[in-house]
Structure formats: C-alpha cells, structure tokens
C-alpha cells in the first residue's frame, strides 16, 4: 500500500527543492551568505527609519557634535550622538541610507542595462557600428567618472535622479566592454548560427539568444556596481555636487566632517564606517555570485 509521506526527502516539493538548493549554495559560499545577511540587516535598519528612533532627521536636538549616548536639550537619548548641527546621527543614518541605497541600486541597474544592450549590439553587428560605438566607449572609459558625473549632476540638478543618471554613465562604458567581449565569443557559437540559418531576425537573436546568455555577466557587473555607486555617490556628495541637504545621504553626512572633526570624531567615523560595512557586505555577495554564475572566473579573486 502506498501512503503519502511528509518526509521532505521522499516527496520533494518545488519550494523545498529551491529551499535546499539555496541552503546548499549558502553552505558552499559562507562569505557570500554572511554578506547577504549583513546586507539584509542594513536594509531592515534603513527601512525602519521613523520607527527605531522617535527623532526627526532634520531637527536640532542637542549642541554641536554631541557625543554618543548623550542627552539632548529635552533629555532625548542620542545613541550615536549628534552631528555638526546637533541632529541625531542614528536617525539621519537611516534616512540617508534610503537615498544612498536607491542611488546605489538604480545607477548600476540603469548603467549595466544600457551597457549590456550596447555591448551586445556592438558585438553582433560588428563592422562600422562596432568601430564607432567602441570609440565612444573608449572615451567614456578614459574620462575620470567623477568629472563626468559632476557636469551631469550640475546640468540635471542635484536631485536623486540627477545623481543616478550621472553615476550610471560611469558604468555604461566599462560594462559594455565586458559584455561585448562575452557576446563576441557567443555570437560565434553554433546555436547563434543555427538560429540565423533558421531565418531568425537580428532582433530575435539579440533578445532571445544573446541577451539571456549574457545575463550572468551583467548580474555580476551589477553587483560590483552597487558598491562602487554607493562609494561614488559619497564622493560626489562630499564635493558638494551630489544630493543636496536637507535630504541626507551617507556622502553628504561626511561633507562637514572635516571641519567639525575636532568637536567629535564620531561625525566623520560613523557615516564612513556605515558606507564601508555596506560596500564590504555587497562585495562579499558579488564575489560569491561571480563564483556561482561565471565558471571561468571560479577560484579567482
């Protein structure tokens, strides 16, 4: 007699299988798993803005650069102290994280998407298109990204979107180069020739065959780009050319750090450390992702 059993090993449901696959990957890449956990914790920290502390991010609560665990004017507890205007650093860190994360995710998403399409089209079309596109890419790669970003944010205004577009330009050049070289080898393979022999259109070959096959490369480029974009945003804001106050970002929290450092080191240390931890965690995830998705690079780095 056959009885239904709840033993997962005997009747693997789909959810179970993907669950255990995820677990197996985590076991094999412990550093990546740690990175993922830290990233999720920080996301929760950012999303709980307004819940974790009772303070407003733009309200002066204490004297200049109140030390950590000190009390404000109305006896409020400032866990991480106050900044150069006496605003609660912990609250600001959470709100600033929203800006930094949105930029950190959107800029590489936009840049890598554009770069992927440009890279594939350039590789597939070849000839004069490839030659011309690659010249522009050459120029994009040889310009220091911050210089490009400065002009673009000034032109578009210091909005979050302006910064996103400016920083995405930095990613387009490099990522299109990488995707192009990947797509070049792909387009020589039999399956592309077979598709062409079957009469598939260029668009179909690009979107149904080449694009899905370069997804792994693009995904890795995206993850690497997130850390870079968060750092770049910080650099841009530090120069005063990023997201403008009163909207806080991790970068513009550091803008006045240098002048007010003497009143309390935590103004400079805390936002910088936050950026470092986030970028560190995301890099760990990116490294593991690269190992999993790109077998050619396995064992590197």
């Amino acid at each position: 007699m056959i009885t239904a059993t709840n033993n997962p090993e005997l009747s693997p449901t789909r959810a179970n299988r993907t669950g255990s696959a995820a677990w197996r990957i985590m076991r094999r890449h412990p550093t990546g798993a740690v990175g993922l956990v830290i990233t999720i914790l920080i996301l929760l920290f950012i999303l709980s803005a307004g819940l974790l502390t009772p303070h407003k991010y733009d309200r002066t609560l204490s004297g200049k650069a109140a030390p950590m665990m000190s009390r404000g004017f109305d006896d409020e507890l400032l866990v991480l102290g106050g900044d150069e205007l006496g605003r609660d650093i912990l609250t600001r860190l959470q709100h600033a994280g929203r800006t930094s994360f949105v930029i950190g995710l959107a800029a590489p998403l936009l840049g890598v998407t554009l770069g992927t399409i440009i890279g594939i089209v350039s590789a597939y079309r070849g000839g004069i298109v490839d030659l011309l596109v690659q010249r522009v890419v050459d120029v994009l790669i040889s310009l220091p990204g911050l210089v490009l970003a400065m002009a673009v944010t000034l032109a578009l205004g210091f909005s979050v979107w302006g910064v996103i577009i400016a920083l995405s330009l930095n990613v387009v050049g490099g990522s299109s180069r990488v995707v192009r070289s990947h797509a070049l080898t792909q387009s020589q393979l039999e399956y592309v020739q077979a598709a062409r022999a079957l009469g598939a259109s260029d668009l179909r070959i690009i979107f149904r065959h080449l694009l899905p096959n370069s997804m792994a490369v693009s995904l890795v480029l995206f993850t690497v780009g997130v850390g870079a974009a968060i750092t770049a945003e910080a650099g841009l804001s530090f120069l005063g050319l990023g997201v403008q106050p009163p909207t806080p970002s991790w970068g513009n929290m550091l803008t006045f750090a240098q002048q007010y450092f003497r009143f309390g080191a935590h103004i400079a240390v805390i936002p910088g450390l936050t950026i470092a931890i986030v970028v560190f965690a995301i890099n760990l995830v990116g490294d593991s992702l690269r190992d999993i998705l790109d077998p050619h690079l396995r064992g590197r780095g």
Binding site: R135, V136, I141, L143, L146, G235, F280, G299
Partner: protein, 317 residues
C-alpha cells in the same frame, strides 16, 4: 605587430575627436554661464548690460555650432584658449596643476604596487593557510573603504595627535622635491591602499594560475630552489596583468585624486575642475577635461603596446 601599433595609434585620432566633442558638450550642458558670475562679483544688482557685453566678448552669444567650430579650430592649432574668468592661458593653468595630480597618481600606483605584489604572491604561495586568509580579509576590507574617507581619517589623526598638517607652498617638484613628497605622501597612501586592495587580489589569482602551469612544475622537478622558481619563472608572467590593471585603474585613480586634492588642499587638476565647473569657466573646464582624458587614453595605449611587446602568447591578427 607593426600594423597593430599603427592601427592603435591611428585610432587615437577619432578618439581624441570624440573626446573633444564630448568635453565641449559636457561644458555646455551646465546651466547658466560665466557672465552672470563675473558681473555678480561686483555688486548685488546684476547689470544686464554688462552681462551682455561679457557674453559678446567671450563669444557665448554665438550659435552653438559656431562655438563648437571655433573650439575645434582652436584645438587644431594646438591652442586650448584662455580661461574665461582669469584670462590666463589654459595651457599655463594645466601645466601648473597637472604636476600635482599626475605625481599623486604615480605615487599612489607605486605605493599600491609595493603593497600588492609581495602580499599577492605571499597569499598565492600560502593558499588556504592563515597568511592567505589574513591578506584576503584585509584586501576585502580596504576594497570597501572609500579612499577619501581614509584620507580624512589619516589627515585628522595626524592633526589631532601630532598637530602635523601638510605643508602649503607654491614651488614645483623640481624646486622642492622633499616638500612636494611630504605633501603628497598621505593622499597617495589613501589612494594607494584602495589600489592595493584590488591589485592584491589580482596578483594572487594570476599567481595561482601561473603556479599551476606545466613549466613551473618542470622547474620544480628539475630541483630548482622554490624561491628561484617564484622569482625567475612565475613572477615575470604574473606581473603583466598587474600592469594592465594599473592602466585600467588610472582613470579611477584620478577620480580619487579629485576628492583627495580637495581634502588635502592640493593645487591639482581635480580642484581646478571643480572650480571651473562651479564658475562655468567653459574654456578652462574643456581644456582640463580634454588633457586629463587624452592623458589616460595615451597611457592606456602605451600599456597595451608594452603588454603586447612583453607577452609573446598574444597573437595579433
């Protein structure tokens, strides 16, 4: 080989043309122009007449294509024009500021490579053991630290604990090399550490690849001393990718230089670009960005050629 070199050098021409075009439009997308700023300096009420006069004098009233053509013609004559604000020649300003920026970048590469190559090799040789773990952890950590933040901390630590601040002076490197070195060493350490973080990982991975090759096994089997195998056989082949990386990262190094110049109050191109951008000094901005971009382009080309010359495995069509 010769054809390849000629092809690459010829490609510089369209690249420079696109770069010049891009810098022109990069400046023109900025909102406003220099005239308002120049007039507003004198008083709070903006004299519209004066604004028009300045615009006319600088040719800002001409249609965009005319301005573009003028910029291109000027470039063909090897002239970068005059700064709209200070009336100094752009070439002069570039020459004054380029020294600091390029010295800073070069010093950073040297510091970075001096850390990355020995650590990368050690890490590869000790693969899986504790020195490898320690080195990999450190490189992962330093990869995540924004280099300008490292710069701020370095500067502030020295200022608060030792009351030392970087010297401020006008002399050039040739006049006062020691002073210039003192001024550049801290920002160079900050940029160099970030560079070392990437380069260590790369050295390690190429070293591992090289150490697995047959000729290394042969050299070992012949009974050569392990150190000799590393230094004479493995290292030369592992250094090439590091050279390439340093070329690719050069634009990135200049990124770091832009911010660190600001922190350390260095009179470099980065600070000058920020000023030119905020003053809408189009001529100066175009000139600076063009020189910076062109330098990186030529640098990358040279590195590529060196690479081809050194690595016999590369086959050129």
């Amino acid at each position: 080989m010769r054809d390849y070199i000629i092809r690459r050098v010829l490609l510089l021409i369209p690249n420079l043309f696109i770069l010049a075009t891009l810098t022109f439009f990069l400046a023109r997308v900025l909102p406003g122009d220099v005239a308002l700023g120049l007039v507003a300096e004198d008083g709070s009420v903006i004299d519209q007449e004066a604004v028009l006069v300045i615009r006319e004098r600088l040719g800002l009233n001409d249609p965009m294509p005319v301005q573009y053509a003028r910029w291109m013609l000027q470039l063909l004559q090897g002239d970068l024009g005059k700064s709209d604000v200070s009336d100094l020649s752009v070439v002069h300003i570039v020459a004054e500021t380029a020294e600091v920026t390029f010295l800073l970048a070069i010093l950073s590469v040297i510091i970075g490579a001096a850390m990355a190559i020995p650590f990368g090799i050690l890490s590869a040789m000790m693969r899986g053991r504790w020195p490898d773990q320690v080195i990999r952890t450190f490189s992962a950590v330093f990869l995540a630290l924004p280099n300008f933040w490292l710069g701020i901390l370095l500067l502030l630590a020295l200022v608060t604990w030792f009351s030392w601040s970087p010297p401020i002076f006008q002399e050039t490197f040739l006049d006062a090399p020691v002073k210039q070195f003192q001024r550049l060493i801290l920002p160079a350490v900050a940029i160099g550490t970030s560079f070392a973080a990437v380069a260590t990982r790369l050295t390690r991975s190429t070293m591992l690849e090289v150490l697995n090759q047959d000729y290394i096994r042969t050299a070992r089997a012949k009974g050569l001393f392990p150190n000799r195998v590393i230094i004479r056989h493995a290292l030369p082949n592992a250094v090439l990718p590091i050279i390439t990386l340093s070329a690719l990262l050069f634009a990135g190094l200049l990124n770091g230089a832009v911010v660190l110049e600001r922190i350390f109050a260095l009179p470099g191109m980065g600070v000058e670009i920020v000023t030119a951008t905020s003053e809408r000094d189009f001529q100066l901005l175009q000139g600076l960005v063009l020189v910076l971009g062109a330098f990186v382009m030529v640098w990358m080309l040279l590195i590529d050629l060196v690479y081809v010359a050194l690595d016999k495995r590369i086959q050129l069509e």
